[in-house]
Every structure is written in C-alpha cells, then in structure tokens.
Symmetry: C2
C-alpha cells in the first residue's frame, strides 16, 4: 500500500536518495488513530519524512506502515495510539489496543507486531501522552519539566509531564472526563458523554458542540455565543488541572482549538476563576505564554512518537 | 519552653535515657501548623518520640522546637509546613513561609533557621505533601509509587506522589480549590471560600459545613443529611483527581474524615460517578482498598516530616 499523501511540513525524499538514509540512524514514529495512521522517520521536526495510511484492518494498515518505515535505517520506533491501550510494562498485554469497539482492533498487539516486523525497540504511549511528549521535546514545552497538554476535538484528553516524565499511575489519566460545573441557566444541553452525560467531554468536545448548536463547530461564526461558553468550560477544566498538577505551561490542542479566538477568552476566564490563587509571574504576568497552542501544530503527535522512539533507543 | 504534652502513640524517654540516643543517628521531623508545631525524632513509627508547641512567635516556637530536637543525635530534619511556602530549591526564599497573614510568620525563613540551629540537612515541604509522603513511606501507600492524599479539615488540600516523588511543578498543587458541580437544587449554600466561593474547599471544608448547617461537623449526628451531601462533593473531587493523576490509592484524611461513615458513601458515589471509566481491578473489585483513611492516623504529617528527613539525609 502506498502512502495516501505527503503532509505539509514533511518532505518525501526522491527514491534515489534513500541510500543516504542507510548511513544515518533514524527514529521512527507512528501516530495510530482511529481513522488514520500517520507515520514518519527522521531525527526531529526539521527532517521528518512522513505519510498517512487509512485505519482499515490491522493487517492492511500495518503492512503499509511497516513497508514505509522500512525505507529508513531505524534505531527505534515510537507509537502514540488511540485507546484504550495497556501501558503497564509488566502486563502480558503491554502495548495492546485493548477493549476498543473499533472493528478488528480489539486486543491488537500493536507494539508487538511493529517490533516483530521492524526488529527495533518500540516505545508505546497513548496518543495524547505522545503529543504532550512531542511538545515537551520540540515544541511549546522545551526546557520545562512539568507540562500539561490538553486536546479538544472529537474527544477531550490530557497528557501530563511531571519531572520530565509522562504521568501514568494505576492506568493513565482520563482528564477529559472530569466534572466541571454545568452552566445550566445558560446551557440546558444535557451533555453528550455516553458514560457521564455532562462531564467535560460531554459539555465541550466537538461532538458536544455539534449536538448543542446543530452544526459542527468549524461552521459556527467566530462571534457565535458558542465560543464564550466553550471557553468558560475549558477554563474551568484548565483551572482544575492547573491546581492539581501545577504545570509550568498548558498547551491546548486539537480540532476545536483551531478556533484561536478562544485563547484570549480562556486566559481571561482562567484568571478570573483562579482569583489570584497561583502566585507566580508565569500566571500573574505572562498568562499569554502560560496557556498556549501547540507549537508543533498538527505534528505534536507524530513528533511525540519520534520522541518516544528516542527514549526507547536509550 | 517545655513541650505542652506528650501525644498518644508517642513515647517520651525519661531524661536518663537520652544518652542512649547519642549512639544512634536519628531523624527529626517538624509538622509546622498554624496553631501548633508537632515535632518528633526517631527512625520511624515504632520509636517516634514527639512533643507539641503552640504556634506563637517564630522566636518562641522555634526555641522550643530546637531545644526539644537537640535531645536527639539527629542526622537530618524534615519540615512539613503550613503555607504558603516557597518550595523552589533555586529560589532565594526557598524554605520560607511567604505571604501568610499569620502574625509574625510572614517571610519567615523556617528551613534556614532550623538548619542554622541544628546544623543538619533539612528537607522542606508543604504540610499536605509531607502527610502524603508519610503515608507512602509507612502508611496506606507502602509499596505504591502513585498515591493521592487529600486532607479535609479547616481547609482542603492534596498531595500527590507520581513515580514515588511528590508533585511540585510551577508552585505546588492546590487541589482543595478545584471547581466541582455545585448541587444548587438541594444545596443553596453559596460556598465559604473567600477566593472562589463554591470551589471544593468552599463547599466541603469543615468551616463550610459549619456555616451551612450552623454547627461544627463533629456535632452533626451521623445520620444527618449533611453527610451524604459532603460525601457527594468529596466523591466528585476524588473522581476529578483520580482521572487527572491516576493514583494507585487515594487516602482521605483530616478532621472531617474522622466521620468514617462517609467512606462507604464516598466509595459508592465515586463508583456511580466514574461509571466504569477506570477499568482496573483496584477500582472495579477492591474499591474498599482504593479509597481509604490514613493508616498512620494523626501521625501522617509528623511521620512524613521524618520521611523528608530521611530523604534529606540521603
């Protein structure tokens, strides 16, 4: 299978140049999503070569991914995957996509199959943890040890770095499902989460906006009342996460955050809700650098997978 | 100044035995509170000798503390302090109590003064972080690397261990001030937090209960409707913190949690609110061991200070 397309920001080398790559050890990355797998190789953002493959069956999708990554002389591969996944190194199903309803992918040994096919060490993470790691390594979190990355799109998910390491714990965080106060007076929409109704994801994901307003968020005008409400819910979430993790910076990514008019609204609302409670110049004087968009744009995930490869290579 | 009293669980050695201590290196701990300083020495829970001094002026209180701790042959001292404190090792005011309104204690170099008086390494933390560390070292979190300790009393505060280390970040967490949904229909009380009104602390601290119900929580009957409401707010908080930090166990301490009838209520409500979202036997099968009280009782803080001393001693 051939790559569907070459992505902006990436460069495909002409076939004759591949031999050059054999001289240099490269890192491979796989951003495994429910609709597409983005994969790439290189040593960082400046020389990333990447391609996309649709998520069909594991056999078909992985055949394309592996054949593409074999073009490079890989030292290691990192995978940031859709979930749920098993991240426990001691577990017999470590590196698996576990109980996904997605056809054919339930209990898929993603990391094991990639390792077996490519014969190199494999790093494995959730997609959002990988994106957090990508921003920490090459994006908005460079030089910081404590970073929070929140993605707001089809779902809401968060990845946190504490002391430079991704937070796991018992399983892994599911920050998208925290409860925040529901503004029932101005927002009677009951929430869209099948598990929790009006949890954060139920109130503020892309599908929640779609159901509340009857059209997809990208088709709502920039001055629509949807945006201050959305900014309010996201600010509540950011307040809770900031008070729990005390990150040095908060990166908000994902499709809904392409509506960049929300950043100033979220910063104002965050400051109002926090009410002077975090006394630090990063919050009190430089809020514009405290709550930011991803510096790597759409590439946080795939570059995070590369950063995972770097760690796996040791 | 003499110790006010010897505490239950602690042992004072008769003066003649003090010479024995000179043979053994001991750890010292200070739990610095706004009304009293608890201090102790020993090597752990089994041989802890401790005493309490009222929090008057820094000169007077520290004179008592230092004179008591000098009885032992200390290797290092740990301090868990009321705040706000400066925990940044690189800061010129590291180890200070900073902007407290408490008379005489503003910008008090607590760690520096203790270090100068006792001439040993000093570890320094917030009071709740120290308590989390105490439970991790000798209490409900032994053997776990990811632990959450939440204290519910005059205020609400949380301390988290991730990969065995206390989470700091930009400043330090202030989990007591997260926002949770306010049950306005059954609870019109506006909240008691001077900063945020109906944040968690504003809804669920001891003083919030006092103001809502007109009497201190310890005087409310065990079947009073105050308790299911309190358990509901605490369960919301525990859900949010669990989804953000993914701890392996959650310890709920502090004065309000002496109402142990709340533990089963919180567990049931936590499970209902989580709605199957954390798929792990620790939550799904052993909730009674997942949300627990402090195993060290009232001694989490002072033993956490001892654990800090152990770390400072290297």
């Amino acid at each position: 299978m051939n790559p569907l397309e070459d992505s902006r920001g990436g460069q495909r080398k002409p076939p004759g140049c591949d031999k050059l790559d054999l001289q240099v050890k490269m890192l491979g990355g796989i951003e495994a999503g429910g609709t597409k797998f983005v994969c790439g190789f290189g040593t960082g953002p400046d020389d990333l070569t990447f391609a996309r493959f649709p998520t069909t069956s594991p056999d078909e999708t992985l055949a394309g991914v592996v054949s593409f990554l074999k073009e490079a002389n890989l030292e290691a591969v990192g995978i940031g995957s859709f979930g749920p996944v098993d991240l426990h190194p001691d577990s017999p199903t470590f590196g698996y996509i576990t109980s996904t309803p997605k056809d054919g992918w339930t209990n898929c040994d993603l990391a094991g199959r990639v390792r077996a096919s490519l014969g190199v060490p494999v790093g494995f993470e959730t997609d959002v943890n990988a994106a957090a790691l990508g921003e920490a390594r090459w994006g908005a979190g460079v030089g910081l040890s404590n970073l929070l990355y929140l993605t707001v799109g089809t779902g809401i998910g968060g990845g946190a770095l504490v002391d430079g390491r991704v937070v796991h714990g018992l399983v892994h965080p599911e920050m998208g499902h925290i409860r925040v106060p529901h503004e029932l007076a101005r927002d009677p929409f009951p929430g869209a989460c099948p598990f929790h109704g009006d949890c954060l994801e139920g109130l503020a994901s892309g599908p929640a906006m779609m159901r509340r307003w009857g059209k997809p968020p990208e088709r709502l005008p920039r001055d629509h009342p949807a945006w201050p409400l959305e900014a309010h819910y996201l600010a509540l979430a950011v307040v809770n996460l900031a008070l729990t993790l005390s990150p040095q910076r908060i990166v908000l990514g994902g499709g809904v955050m392409r509506q960049t008019q929300m950043f100033p609204m979220i910063r104002v609302e965050f400051t109002r809700l926090l009410h002077g409670y975090v006394r630090h110049p990063a919050v009190e004087e430089r809020i514009g650098e405290y709550i930011v968009g991803p510096k790597l744009g759409d590439r946080s995930g795939i570059l995070g997978a590369l950063a995972l490869a770097e760690q796996a290579a040791g």
